[in-house]
Amino acid sequence: MSTLTEAPPLAPVPEKKPPRKRGRLVPYWLLLPGILWLVVFFALPMVYQASTSVQTGSLEEGYKVTWHFATYWDALSEYWPQFLRSLLYAGAATILCLVLGYPLAYLIAFRAGRWRNLIMILVIAPFFTSFLIRTLAWKTILADSGPVVGALNTLHVLDVTSWLGWTSGDRVLATPLAVVCGLTYNFLPFMILPLYTSLERIDVRLHEAAGDLYARPITTFRRVTFPLSMPGVVSGTLLTFIPAAGDYVNADLLGSTDTRMVGNVIQTQFLRILDYPTAAALSFILMAAILAMVTVYIRKSGTEDLV
């Protein structure tokens, strides 16, 4: 996969037909719809947002670009706890998703047999209802007087999580744990699907070959399966972490005052306080932070393919 020089020699180029001029433009025509889409719905809003972040003013007086970069610093020094919390919660949710999702994806890819399609549907099925409804369902499941919290209390699990600061008292809702669980649940399919695609592509004969070379199952997994599934792991973690870091619905519905994430701050700034520059600056800081982390992550993970 890494050595390019081993490629077979080039097939001789047919000399009779010089490439036609019209054909040359085809790739650009094919790109056009996508590029237009990106310009209108990504690049332009981005420029607009960047502009908003360096404006000052008010609704009555209008907003003017004054290159007021201090907004960035002010926003960061004021709301760094929420930033940190967002990255922390998103990170925790991503790790949980990986731990829960990998075995399931493995099962679907290699062991599910004729149940494969059914399990896949079960993984995707929650997506048939809205994000909001799914999150609200958790409020019923985790209600203080509900069976789940009752069982956790009987088993003294909540004493431990409470001591760790993940929950408070004998409840789960309106605590960090509930928010992380909600994030994990809502983004789990984004982890499972790329993992499955990666795993499914692995030739099972490689497992047999590893066995023939006296590798124990655990070694086979460590040396063969897992490295080959890295593209899935990387894209799965990205697809989970990036939206989770910007999510505000889970923190809003399942959390409390001490679990607010940066998405909530942006929402409040934009809709309630009408401080558009701060909201835009916060969005940019979040974007930059995620971009930086993702860049480092992709470099470190040493995988070339993303899916």
């Binding site: 502009s51 003017k64 019923t140 008292g169 809709l271």
Partner: protein, 415 residues
Amino acid sequence: MEQYEPDRLSSAQVAAMRRSLRNGRASLTRRSMLRASAGGALAVGGMGALSACGIPAAGNTKGGVSAEDHSAEEKTVNFSNWTEYMDLDESEKHHPTLDQFKKRTGITVKYTEDINDNVEFFGKIKPQLAAGQDTGRDIIVLTDWLAARLIRLGWVQKLDASNLPHAYANLSAQFRDPDWDPGRAYSYVFQGISTVIAYNKKALDGEEVKSISDMLDNPKLKGKIGFLSEMRDSIGMTLLDMGKDPANFTADDYDAAVARIQKAVDGGQIRRFTGNDYTSDLSSGDFAACIAWAGDVVQLKADSPDIDFVIPDSGYLTSTDNFLIPNKARHKTNAERLIDYYYEPKPAAELAAYINYVTPVDGVKPELEKIDPDAANNPLIIPDQAMAAKSHAFRSLSSKEETAFEEKFAKLTGA
């Protein structure tokens, strides 16, 4: 498929292409992604473009900008309202009061339930109104503080009193003269909303809640108290509890109320601040007591015997949802006729019987008695003297105050 000008590529590149073709997909690689994002960053770097887009000042045209009124030739009116805020017949498809309006006037009401949240709806219509464009809506219904902001910004039209005879005659006294729209030049009340304390008997477990102080101070209710994320409701009720008048308070009073709630947040007394979703917390018993809107409580009470409400001795807050006609609306006269229609006792009674909010129309009681005698005697729908005496309004805020207060309140709720 022919290879694309293969003679210009190095053998390594062709090998890579082949590999990718053999795998049946053009793989997205780390390098191509980094390259693409770098390109994106460069494009954004065109700083010159940034200064081009400011947001213009809100046109301060007092009296609003009217478009040409097409009421006469287009027999229609576009009415945007909140969800579940209009009477429905058994089939749940028709709104009887709107149908009767059409029968009588020949004006078709295009009724849309597209308002879920004041701040979100403001975000939605702001760009059009700020740019002086038609929003496609002839009537919108907004809560008083947002209605005040729209009037302040000059984004709504002055109403023509000659089209509103019933409204003028029947608007009940307590809603006649809000400080943000004296004499109702721009707005008329659609429904009044009472903010009260609701509780779940089961979850209270024998404790008693009669005031905001009971909610904030009883250690047995720790983590079982809910406040509203609407600043005016939560602060207003707390101000009343502290003996202050929400219609006339100072910035210091405000800070004192925030400090009082902050203490309860820090001590874990308040579980969370909610929007409309407090109803599920209250029904499940996760909230033992919370600040609530009376219209919801009437509904919840019908569903569950455990839920009830209490009006604190210190009083309660009344706010209003108001009809407004945005700038450039095409059917202003039709809109005014519809507003006036809802001030006739009969349609007002039909509406009140269905939605359980405070009716702003005098003379509804005899009509409502014919439809639903219980509702007619419910002080939450038609306030009696004792009830009306305890009602307080939250004063209007200047735009500077509003920003400062909302910021402080946002900190309280965790930003």
